[in-house]
């Protein structure tokens, strides 16, 4: 780990000021991902602004009937929050399907959104990786790529986004609130927070330098049933090979609303509105679910070692839809 200057400001204004007075400064909250990457020399910040003392640990109801989740609310606290469990069970389930008890006690809402890929080659400084070192090449394309993405990839990077929490948030139409160094605030969807790798896979997101995530805002809870289904190599404490966050509402035997988001398969938490639209107004059936899966997978590309994710995503989606539209809760 290279040496860094460190500061622990008492409030947001001081934190934003600190980040601008030393360009290249990074915010650190739980530290469970950033410190790990700093130990390996993959992240090399010269300046760390510790935001742990900021007043961003509350979960509050919004006037619209949704929830505002402070950026420093831990993953554990969010998953255990009574209103999250009651109104947004897909979010609680997604968080509890990820990491370990220790990590969830430290990892924060904002930090979880910005965690970096778990691609083995990104983590291995001896292997070429365009995300770690632009222009170096991609070791996963044509190499061992079992855990890599099948959607949103480019000729330069096929690393999958690792978050479970963000997948549920994408299905819930969450918005990410930030403050910029000049004090202005901004609100964006997760789709607008992240970027696809394209030719610049080293840039994961669209936040400006010194822009601080302050909260995630959930709209009022959607009607219908919610579920998070995750498939992984072991029963606990493993990243998703494939996951499906689904919210489906039915009336008189027909699907009235459906939002679907996918983890482990995309270079960002994935969503496909065309596939969702296919379900609306239809009576649930195996054939319908297969057509929905066809739409999600229309642009999917396997890279050899991860080809299995294509049928696995299909089966996981079909199983989720069958459960949510069936008689059993």
């Amino acid at each position: 780990m290279i040496a860094f200057d460190y500061i622990r400001p008492a409030d947001e204004t001081a934190a934003l000021h600190a980040a601008t007075e030393r360009p290249g400064a990074r915010f650190i909250a739980g530290g469970t991902n950033l410190l790990d990457l700093m130990k390996l020399g993959i992240e090399r910040p010269r300046y760390l602004v510790d935001i742990g003392a900021l007043d961003l640990r509350e979960v509050t109801e919004t006037s619209e009937g949704g929830l505002r989740i402070g950026a420093l609310v831990t993953n554990a606290a969010l998953a255990a929050h009574p209103l999250v469990r009651q109104r947004y069970p897909v979010l609680s389930q997604a968080i509890l399907a990820g990491a370990s008890g220790q990590l969830r006690n430290k990892a924060t809402t904002g930090g979880n959104l910005l965690q970096r890929t778990r691609c083995y080659f990104f983590y291995d400084p001896a292997s070429p990786c365009n995300k770690r070192e632009p222009g170096a090449g991609c070791s996963a394309i044509g190499g061992f790529n079992r855990i890599m993405a099948i959607l949103g990839t480019s000729a330069h990077c096929i690393a999958s986004h690792p978050s479970d929490m963000a997948v549920a948030m994408r299905a819930l139409d969450a918005r990410v609130e930030t403050r910029l160094p000049d004090g202005q605030t901004s609100s964006r969807t997760l789709e607008a927070l992240y970027r696809l790798p394209g030719e610049t896979p080293h840039v994961d997101h669209r936040l400006a330098p010194g822009e601080l995530i302050t909260a995630v805002v959930l709209p009022p809870p959607p009607a219908g049933r919610q579920s998070y289904r995750k498939v992984r190599d072991r029963a606990s404490y493993a990243f998703a090979l494939v996951s499906v966050a689904a919210v489906v509402s039915m009336r008189e035997g027909r699907i009235t609303e459906a939002t679907l988001a996918f983890g482990g398969v995309g270079t960002m938490p994935w969503r496909n509105r065309k596939a969702e639209a296919l379900l609306i107004g239809q009576a649930p059936s195996a054939a319908l679910f297969e057509r929905c899966a066809d739409a999600v997978l229309a642009e999917a590309t396997g890279h050899g070692g991860n080809d299995f994710k294509i049928p696995l995503l299909r089966r996981t989606l079909v199983a989720s839809l069958a459960k949510l539209t069936g008689g059993e809760p």
Binding site: D5, D50, A76, R85, G101, Q102, N105
Partner: protein, 180 residues
């Protein structure tokens, strides 16, 4: 509040097992290394040093965390409890006694992390926190083996003493955990 420059070191105070310690450390020193190398509290173990094995688990304000993935300088306002703060060789914590009685280890390297993690985990259970298995903590007074396995998945044991570790935790939780 001002910057601690990289080359100057950080003067800080850590509260560990009820004792306050004044230290001067490089800001890069993790909580784990501060405990082991600067306070000589070597009961907390370094396994992977990447938050994957759980050997370094300590309690911070009663919550279990991986001490290897946190900087010492970030914990000046916290109360830290290590295995040395739970029990001693002469006066074992009841969970330590349960590990001995149930033979919950082989080499013992993961044990302090297992015990600190289990203490934190049982606190989470008593508070009704859900797990990947669902909302069973809400209604169930006694934890069962399946919940212990899921909730303790962040603590690896290379000797694979898992069956006895689960037994020790379950024994403690059902017999003595209520007043722990």
């Amino acid at each position: 509040m001002s910057w601690i420059e990289a080359d100057s070191g950080a003067a800080l105070t850590l509260s560990v097992n009820g004792m306050r310690h004044d230290l001067k450390l490089d800001a890069r020193v993790t909580l784990l290394d501060a405990l082991r190398e600067h306070l000589q509290l070597t009961g907390t173990k370094k396994g992977c040093d990447h938050g994957q094995c759980g050997a370094c688990t300590v309690l911070v304000n009663g919550r279990r965390i991986n001490s290897c993935l946190s900087l010492a300088v970030m914990h000046q306002a916290d109360e830290i409890t290590t295995i040395e703060g739970l029990g001693t060789a002469e006066n074992l914590h009841p969970l330590q006694a349960a590990f001995v009685a149930k033979d919950g280890f082989q080499c013992g390297y993961c044990t302090s992390g297992q015990i600190c993690s289990a203490i934190g985990m049982l606190g989470e259970w008593r508070e009704g926190w859900p797990s990947h298995l669902g909302d069973r903590a809400d209604a169930a007074p006694a934890i069962d083996a399946a919940e212990i396995r899921e909730r303790m998945s962040g603590n690896l044991c290379r000797c694979a003493a898992y069956p006895r570790i689960v037994e020790a935790i379950e024994h403690y939780a059902t017999h003595e955990g209520a007043d722990a």
